[in-house]
Symmetry: D2
Subunit: 382 residues, 4 copies
């Protein structure tokens, strides 16, 4: 079993989870490549060393260039703040490393284009960290739709809603500053990617992006303006002619992990809610009318990537598991010399939708998404 050296840049939340995932993945999936945790980078020497010791890396550094320069590192996980994604990723590609870059791929569309072009030109394995698309239930849903189980899809509704800023008295932080850290910038990408995966490209959008709580306590007795958005939603027209709606919120009281979607088709329907990630609801229009309804399918060995975790259905996977699946796909792509879906092109496409939504919200008009026809096909309006 060959080794693959892993470097992780960013030792916080997503860095830790990727470290844990890389430690477990070869045992869980019995992969051809066995990852070695070679190097971790964090903002200070002290924090980097702490992460090294706790997560089980061989070396630590406060300088991401050290990770990229390390000849034992074959693949890099970019889990640093989003404004650093482009520079680090471009350097890693230049050094011939494979790259798994956290979402959003970058802050601007231009950065995303540069990263995608470089990755394609270099022929490395690249992946954007859309891990929610990797649950067994959602992978199964994608297969069902692709295989026509619900006929032609006519409607997609998606949301990513959480409530970590629902309380108007929650203090302002870096999260309430800058577009990239707002709801549209930080929360929307996972679900936009989901919509693209199920429906194909989005041709145009009409969006409304709002800051509901315009200022918040600054933690020092005063008030500080909030400079990014709390709620964003958009009507979509897909390139295939269908319609849909996407909604994002960080003030959706009661919603904890509201990555949820619903599709209606000519022969069936599907719905899913990440808060119960082991259940997929499927309706099919065949059989006796008296026995039709939504079927609650529990994730099990009949679904993609479940078997490795458990031989019995209904036992369930969790958040860490979807990251283990993600890195398993990354390792498999490295071994095969291919891209790892969702690769950088997907990360770029997502960012183009984010851009169009901002424009639409500012103009009050429908906005064509970059790369799509200025007059997208629209179903006839009575």
């Amino acid at each position: 079993m060959a080794r693959v050296g892993i470097g992780i840049i960013g030792g916080g939340y997503m860095g830790k989870l990727h470290a844990a995932a890389f430690r477990a993945v070869a045992t869980v999936f019995e992969t051809d490549l066995r990852p070695e945790l070679v190097a971790v980078c964090a903002s200070t020497p002290e924090s980097a060393e702490r992460y090294r010791a706790r997560y089980g890396f061989q070396s630590a550094t406060p300088d991401w260039r050290d990770v990229i320069a390390n000849p034992s590192v074959d693949a890099v996980v970019v889990a640093s703040p989003q404004e650093t994604h482009a520079e680090i990723t471009l350097a890693a590609i230049a050094a011939g490393k494979h790259v798994l870059c956290e979402k959003p791929l970058a802050v601007t569309v231009d950065e995303c284009v540069a990263m995608t072009d470089a990755a394609l030109a270099a022929g490395i394995t690249h992946m954007t960290g859309f891990n929610y698309i990797k649950t067994p239930a959602t992978q199964h849903a994608l297969s069902l739709v692709k295989d026509g189980a619900i006929g032609d899809v006519t409607w997609f509704r998606g949301e990513h809603t959480e409530d970590f800023y629902a309380d108007p008295d929650a203090a302002a932080t870096w999260r309430t500053e800058g577009r990239a850290n707002g709801t549209m910038g930080d929360l929307s990408p996972h679900m936009i990617q989901c919509a693209l995966a199920f429906m194909g490209p989005i041709a145009s959008v009409s969006a409304a992006i709002d800051t509901v709580h315009a200022e918040r306590p600054d933690g020092a007795g005063g008030r500080r303006p909030v400079t990014n958005d709390d709620i964003a939603h958009m009507m979509c027209r897909f390139a295939g002619g269908q319609t849909g709606h996407l909604m994002f919120s960080r003030i959706a009281t009661g919603r904890k992990m509201g990555y949820a979607y619903e599709l209606f088709g000519t022969k069936g329907a599907i719905r899913f809610n990440q808060e119960d990630q082991n259940a997929l609801w499927l309706y099919q229009s065949d059989g006796a009318a008296a026995n039709r309804g939504f079927t609650k399918i529990l994730a099990g060995p009949a679904h993609p990537d479940y078997w490795a975790f458990c031989q019995g259905p209904g036992h369930g996977t969790g958040y860490l598991d979807q990251i283990i699946i993600e890195v398993a796909h990354f390792l498999k792509a490295i071994a095969a010399g291919t891209f790892a879906w969702p690769d950088f092109r997907v990360g770029l496409a997502v960012q183009q939708v984010v851009d169009a939504a901002w424009t639409s919200s500012e103009t009050g008009h429908w906005q064509t998404v970059a790369g799509h026809d200025a007059t997208p096909s629209k179903a006839s309006s009575a």
Copy 2:
């Protein structure tokens, strides 16, 4: 116990249900007024007589003018096709009858204005047949929101989705012809009324209204064009500054009675789905974080108008019961000499939103709703 003579115009679906409701209401609610089923009108003498015999009316006629002219009739239910609502209702008002008019109040805003003006001028009891707002669960939800149980509401999502035209091979009928019979015309009013009840006026909308299946079998081996819409949805800005989304579909495969709404507030959240009309889901942000979540409240005697049906909670009300509650409110208003909420003004307000949605869908821009500021308050956009 005084009597009140009831005439019902339209013996079909809603006519029958109102007849059954009027037969039961005085026993269920022990109302001050006891309704007598005086006259029923249907399209032919034969059908009218059949309804008379089956539903227990005293007389039958194919001419709605007979019902209005009947001195024993004190109150009229207008359950005839929507294009007849205005003429019949105006005549009934002119004859001094109280009127319960089915939704939509009329086909055009102008008709609604005329009916509302006439009803207000005459001082009769008037009501629009928005019976879904009458379930004990939804009445309780309205109280909760009014009383601040979820704080300031920041978002409303509503839908009315069914699937009776989900099959592209379902034949064209009168239902697939004419705006008034389409999704926006026929299906949207209940949920628009619901949004207004919870949130107050809608100031502007950005809508998309689509015919997905442009032609259907004509039942004679050919194809016939569909001249109204299958799906409609709109982003809303409420006069209070909040945002929301409303969606309507008759091709929402798997959805049978998808009258559903969701509100997020600064201190809590509420959601409801008519398919389980006896459950209201309430989230409140107080108490220990470890014990927070959505509470499934079963309708019971602690909620409006439930006690009359059952002394025990959780036994449940059904579709007929919400109409019994509706007519109980109508009788109570007659006895009190007041309007019966939702009165004609509400029916008019709903129609104004429908109109604005059509305009927006045609222009591709946000459209101000009649009677509202051309530049509705919009939360600051980052």
Copy 3:
């Protein structure tokens, strides 16, 4: 349309609901017989007159013998306290009336035998008031099981749980005195009947019947002993060899209308909970493993007795509706000159199970149910 004169003995809770049901039933179901509310009997002249006026009866009396002697009364509903069921019912049968007797049929098995024998000899239409078995969902479930949709049933679990005495400080009343008013006496019959309907006869039981709160406040500052049971449960062996479990409680905190059952079969499974009476959950073992699960079937026109209430699925029936269905079945049986299922024989069979459970709880042994083999078939024990 012929008339049928109805007398109701007992003007309280169930009396009112039957009155409302008889008022609505001919309109809802367009029955051949149209009921007339002829006479109501309550404990005092004043209460009887109040019920007469409120519920719409023609006459009132404090003496049930008047109702039975009234030649305009064709059918009697016995909704008086259970200890009076036998005497009243036997008198009504002797007078040639049809009888719908509330559950439990009577207090003792001997009374039930006498009533059943008399009813069968007289050839009148008789029915026991097991109205929960009449919901469209449960009627459909019975059909599914009968038609083999879940194969051979191997297990039945039923419960009827409520929480009206969950609070140990709830005061003692007549409900906490006397076996007939306890959990086994008053709450268990509906679900025992349900078990019999799905599974056939129960051959033997092992039961445990307990009073958890041995005394309660007497409402006058003191304490009063509780003389009946709070919780009862039993393991069953059905005559067909299957096993099951039945559980009853009036202290099941949080359960409001916990009439719920679950069946496992060789080819599928069914579960139902009256708290969401419009949903039936069906699992079938055919089709692709990846798409199997419990299907939530919403009650609709494809199910027994739903169409009369609503032409669209998912709109829902409620508690009153199941009583309307019950009296529709009663009227139909009168018109046809047959028994109305569940007839008195079922009421008797239920009481025999109640008796056996008491004996088992007292002896600590399995107890054969009257009429069944002393050595019921038992599946082989490894």
Copy 4:
């Protein structure tokens, strides 16, 4: 950070999962001890070597004695067939190793007693592999009950139901032979342990244990007798005087991971179903009656052992995670020099209940559980 050498005996299902858990645990929980996967034992040299390579162990052997004799091994996981648990565990204890033994602790009560006595005498850290009790939701439920959140518990219902033998045509294997591999022997221990954790000791039981499908295809065209049980259930009286019911089945069609429990108390109720392991349903009897109901609490950082996996609530843990938590508790106990709950005493107590159930099923009487009063306290029977 100190190391701890791990040896795993049994390379199959549970062996793999423990290997993966030990690989990830130090990163996830940042434990004081960092496990090293020293040795794995499987039935043949070839399979052992395969597991070594795939799971990442340092050495492999077909002889469990090698693992115990290995001085680099500090702690042993016994995941071999249950009939080998006693011998291996006793040898490991004699060698001074810490032991995590899979459930059931052993085949007989006598073996369990010997293992427990030896472990206590040696002072090693011992644990029985009841990993379902380790989900954040169930750990929180235990805290709630202990802290009185639902008052005095009056009823416990538990089940462990799956459907891997629901099909009567599923072939006979080792699983259908021998008591230890049947439903009572193999499936019941997890839920019995759960009942003991919530309620304290079970004093007596009345059980029914059945083989529903007495023979099955032998895979060679013939039929083979089934020599163990398909369904088992029992009524319980707890030492504290409460009652309850436990049910186990391997033919519960549609149930995939039916580890589920329900408790009613004087002030609230709790229910849980492992098929949605991230939701705990809590009812509390305080607050306004109009707003009471079961609250669906999503597992989150406010609950035990969740934070290590994810900083956000509602993201969910899965089956592997409950094993990671289990081994984290094991490591923590080793570091602290204590027992790891549920230790061997719990494994023994579970086996005593299993034994009593068998006796009860054979005699048809209530059976006292070893170590409890022959006349357990019984609530007064009316």
